[in-house]
Structure formats: C-alpha cells, structure tokens
Symmetry: C2
C-alpha cells in the first residue's frame, strides 16, 4: 500500500510535536479560529447532504460510522472538529431514524509518519464517545481499505504539496525560482510548475479517497487559497514568507548560511484560487461539489512573537531538515527582528488577504 511518494517525503514533513511552548499544539490558534466560522457551514452541510440508507442494526455494518481526519497534526483542533462532525451526524441520524440504536463512531487520525502521534494519543480527550485510531502515512496515497469511510475531513493540510516541484530548484530550468522560497505568483514559469504539482497532488488525493469513501459519503476540505485574480505576493502570508526568504538571502550574504542551500530551498506550499480548485474536482469526476464557500479569516495584527511562533510551529521541521538545527534558531531570530522592523508595512500594505476555501464533497454512487 506504500507508494513511491511516501518514501520520498522528507521526514521533517510534520508540524512541531510535543506540547511545549514551540509545539503546533500550542501554536495553532489561528487554524482553530476558522473552526468557529466553519462550524455552522459543516453542521448544515452534513445535515442536508448526508443520507443514511437504513437505520443501525446489529447485523448491518452501518452501526459503525467511520470518520478520518487527513493531516490531523497533534493539536487540539482535530479533536474539536471531530466532535462537531459527530454531533451533526448523530443529529441527522436520529432525525432520520427515531428510536434506533446509537451509532458507534470510529475516528482515524491521519498524518505523515513523522507526526507526533504519541502526543496526539496522550492528549486525546479523557472521555471520548468514539473509538480512536492513528493512521501514519501520506494522504497522497491510499491509507484505508475500499469503501470503509463515511466521512473524510482535511483541514489546513492540502495546501502542503507532496514535494517541491523539481524545476523550481533546478538552476537550468526556466522555472528556477532564484531569490524566492515560494510560489509568489509573479514568475509565470514558477507558478506553472507549482500549479501542476498541486493538480497532480489533488488528483492523487481525490482518487485515493474515492476508493476509500463509500458511495454517498462526504468529504469536508478546508484549504488555504487566494481570492480569484490575486497573487500570493499580494497577501499577508505571501509577504511574510517573502520576508522570511529575504532573511535567508541576507544571512547567506553575511556568510551565516550557505548560499547554495538558500537557492535550493523552496516551500512545498501552494495557495490555489477557487476556480482552479473547482476545475480539478470537476475533472476528477468521483465527487460532486455540494458547497464551495470562501471563508474570510483575516490574519489579525498580533504581536511579532505570535506570528513568529506560528510560523515556527509550521516551518521548523522543513527548515531544520534543510539548514540544520543551529541555523534554524538563527533564522527565526533574524526573521523576528526583520518582521518587527517591517511590521506596519507588512500588515498595512496587504489589502488582500488570502482566504480559506470551504469545500463539501459527496462521493458519487457508482
């Protein structure tokens, strides 16, 4: 069931583990914020589109309702989201079938193998109304047996590509992304390479889930994206990442880190437009789009330390694998200093926020 992609995924591809001050668990309040907005959408969407064919009976397998969170990381966010989903499913079930025996829920927490599952398990709510399991491995391949999931959820995970497109770190390619560490959107060839990788990854994700989700089953996707016609470089996140990239270049010039390492570093991160996302899903043909909403969840102006902690919880693993542990500390010190110096211009210049796309899909019945 392992595919070649699993093997090429860097080990660092995980949020910072544990529950210490630098962990993702302690630094994902921004991501948690969106849950409040998403709550109602998800509740409504599940109730309107989920359709139980028959009530629960001991002989039928429908007694067990299986949910998977693809890219759960280790924070409390995944537990909150799973609770919300179960609540909506239960209400719908009981509305459809009064007085039938309760559903049993099995919840699968998936993330890459390097994820801190030990912390995830230790912080599971002490009273769970579900049977919990952890599933290690990349969601760009198969992770579950055929037709065994009833609802899939992926929040803030699909903007992470399976890999950096090779061309953008290839000095001989017209897509070489010299001077930037992201898909800022301004260089056409770079954007093309990132967009192609995103399409490949999304296709792999949708095809794998199409196998695993039963006909009529649902999938909720919350994914970082861009308003139509807006470039990454015009958003707060894009400007912050550009600033981080400029720190690396400065530090290379000062001889603190190697220039070659800076040139070969790019983030496997892609923010798509709703149009692009819609096209990929429609072409895939396994799922029908029930909802596609744009969530406005502006990055608040918080203290510099808050922003740095957030970026560190998310990017430390990737930077450490590329530059080494010592240099990562220096990079974030430098980044904090530069962000403080440019604070007002970063947050005022960006009139355009990136957005989150909320997508509710239903697996077609073959």
């Amino acid at each position: 069931m392992e595919n070649s992609e699993t093997k090429t995924l860097p080990k660092s591809w995980a949020m910072v583990g544990g529950d210490g001050p630098r962990s993702y668990a302690q630094n994902s309040s921004y991501q948690r914020g969106v849950l409040v907005i998403v709550d109602e959408l998800m509740d409504e969407g599940i109730k309107e589109t989920l359709d139980f064919k028959s009530p629960c009976s001991d002989s039928s397998n429908m007694c067990t309702f299986r949910i998977a969170d693809f890219g759960c990381s280790a924070g409390p966010n995944t537990f909150l989201a799973m609770e919300k989903i179960m609540e909506a499913v239960e209400q719908k079930y009981h509305a459809q079938f009064q007085n039938s025996p309760p559903l049993e829920f099995q919840v699968f927490f998936n993330d890459v193998t390097a994820n801190d599952f030990n912390t995830l398990f230790k912080t599971l709510p002490s009273y769970q109304k579900y049977f919990a399991a952890g599933v290690p491995g990349t969601f760009y391949g198969r992770l579950f047996p055929k037709s065994t999931l009833h609802l899939a959820y992926a929040s803030y995970s699909l903007q992470w590509l399976s890999k950096v497109p090779e061309e953008v770190v290839d000095t001989k390619s017209p897509a070489w992304n010299k001077g930037s560490i992201q898909c800022s959107g301004t260089a056409k060839e770079v954007a093309k390479a990132y967009s192609a990788q995103f399409k490949t990854d999304m296709d792999n994700f949708l095809n794998a889930r199409a196998q695993e989700i039963i006909g009529g089953g649902l999938m909720v996707i919350i994914i970082c994206g861009l308003p139509d016609g807006i470039l990454m470089s015009q958003t707060v996140a894009g400007i912050c990442i550009e600033l981080l990239g400029s720190c690396l270049i400065d530090m290379a010039k000062l001889g603190v880190i190697s220039e070659e390492k800076v040139d070969t570093f790019n983030l496997p991160l892609y923010f798509s437009s709703a149009k692009e996302l819609e096209e990929i899903i429609k072409n895939n043909e396994h799922f029908c789009i029930e909802r596609l909403n744009r969530l406005n969840h502006p990055m608040m102006k918080m203290k510099v330390e808050f922003h740095i902690s957030l970026y560190r919880a998310v990017l430390q693993g990737l930077l450490e694998a590329h530059f080494g542990r010592d240099d990562v500390d220096k990079i974030f010190e430098y980044f904090a200093k530069k962000l403080a110096e440019n604070y007002d211009s970063v947050f005022n210049a960006a009139n355009h926020q990136h957005v989150e796309h909320f997508v509710l899909l239903k697996r077609n019945i073959n």
Copy 2:
C-alpha cells in the same frame, strides 16, 4: 468508550520505547523466539478453523479483513506475527474461493497510550501489504466498534494485569506480600488475590473482544504461564524476579532506597496454569477453545547482560514510576551484580521452566 480502568492505569505501563540499545525493540528476541514455534500452530489453526462465508465482492464488506494485535509494543515482533497471520488467511481464502478478488487487510496495532507509537510507525516495514493503524488504550476495555474485527492476536501481553491487586500492598491485609514483589505462589492469600485479579482482567478482555470480533472470527493468545502444579517460585522467571526483589530489600537496608517504597512495590504480573486459563474461557461462554497448547520455550542460559537488558526493557517503566529515574539505574546495576554472583544456582536450580500457553479461540455465532 474510556472506562475508569484506563484512567487508573499508570503511565509507565509500556515497554521501553525508541530503538536504542535499551529499547524493547532491541531486547525482545526471547519473545520473538516463540514466534518460530508458534508459526506452524497458528498457520494450521487458522486454515482449519477460519471459515469465509462468501467470497470478496465490491459491495460486501468482506473485502476488508481486520486484524488487531492487542499489546503490540514497538518491536519488530508484531510485524512478523501480522505477516504470518495474513499469509495463512490469504491462503485459506484463495483455497476457498479461487479467482476471487484479493482481500484487503487492515491491521490495528494496539497498546497502552504510553506506548511508543512514533517508533512503531517509523519502523513499519517500508512495503506493507496492509493498511496500518495504531490504537491507544488498555485492552481490558472496549477499543473497537461492534463486530468489526475478524482476527485478534495477543502475545506476551495478557500476563500483565490491569493493576496490582490492592490487598498485596496493604499492610493490614492478610494478603500483604511483605518481602516479595511478585506472586511467587508460596503465600496462599497473595496467590488468591493475584488469581482473582487475573480472572477479572481476563473476563474484561474476553467480554470486550466478544463485542468486537464477528461471529466465527478467531483469537490467538500467547501468554506466559506455568505447568500445572508448579509454582512461580520454581521457575527461572520466578527465581529471577525474586532475586530482583531481594536486591530492592538489600538496597533499602543499605538506605539507598526507601523501605516503604519497596514494601509498596509489586509487579502486576501473573503466570497462570492451563487449567485456570481454560476454566476462565469456558465460563465466559463467548468463545470456543479450538486449541490449547503448551509451548516449551526454555529461557536459554545467556550472558548476564542479555538477561538484564531483557528485564530492563520490560520493567524499567514500572520501576521508574515507583522509584524514580536515578534509583532505577542503581537497581539494575545491583541486580546485574547479584545475578552474576548467583548465576549458576539460578539457572541450574530451576528444573521447572515456565511455559507459554498457545490458545486459539473462535467467537461463537450468537
């Protein structure tokens, strides 16, 4: 799904994690040894007793064959055992239904929440022919939805009780086990308390599994035990543990560790006779005994360091929780010295080896 027992289980209730020189992963070759003996028994047993009702079809859920290892720890042993089981199941399936589509396997690795699942996941064979999941929690309660498992496996785990019987560390009880850290078998009241706890635990285990395993599904249990009529104190394992207990007493007398701590320390470990085990299973009524074999797997005379490493991988967590990290180092140093001094008498005096029971159960069809 959490029960009160889960909460009272000490956090230390896990083999030593990681894959370093002191880990269970590196120090479980004794436990692995039994796999070679068990192989044929398991292969034969599965082929003779497993009965597929219908071939795999896309609409039926029988496409997925679910196996769970209860108390898997983190070593390579669990992977080897799961492979062997799948091989036997596949062969039986294809013998029954030629040319039918292949089964898909989902394997659940269960152990207590404190188990090192991160290492377990990182050391999963790079090519798996199954979908892997980790399930944290005590197997003395429910861990899976109803009727979702086809085969359960528990190897070297059920001799670990859910807790030390309270009476044996209660100075006011006639079962107070002063001067010993185990159920040596010589003190009647102590043996009675341990035996009662074993019965309660086994009942809880069988009742939980009876809910989770489908009618006709199988359960393989490999468990440390005693030949009928033999006391723990007459076996190598019993003599070794008695020696460890005497180290604690010596160290308390020398003032290295507290006497009160020694008095309140007992191992939650119980080696049962085949007769006792058989009685519990028969009284339970959910399972039918297909095989009950005695495996002779004598503890070889190895270097003192080998024995100490083995005991440390298994007992360190428990000792550390009770005595603290620093004292554990001292305890094992002292134990190594004392075992070396008594080496010949320990291994020669014990004509009676403990045994492993191999049990194959079939879930009754209600």
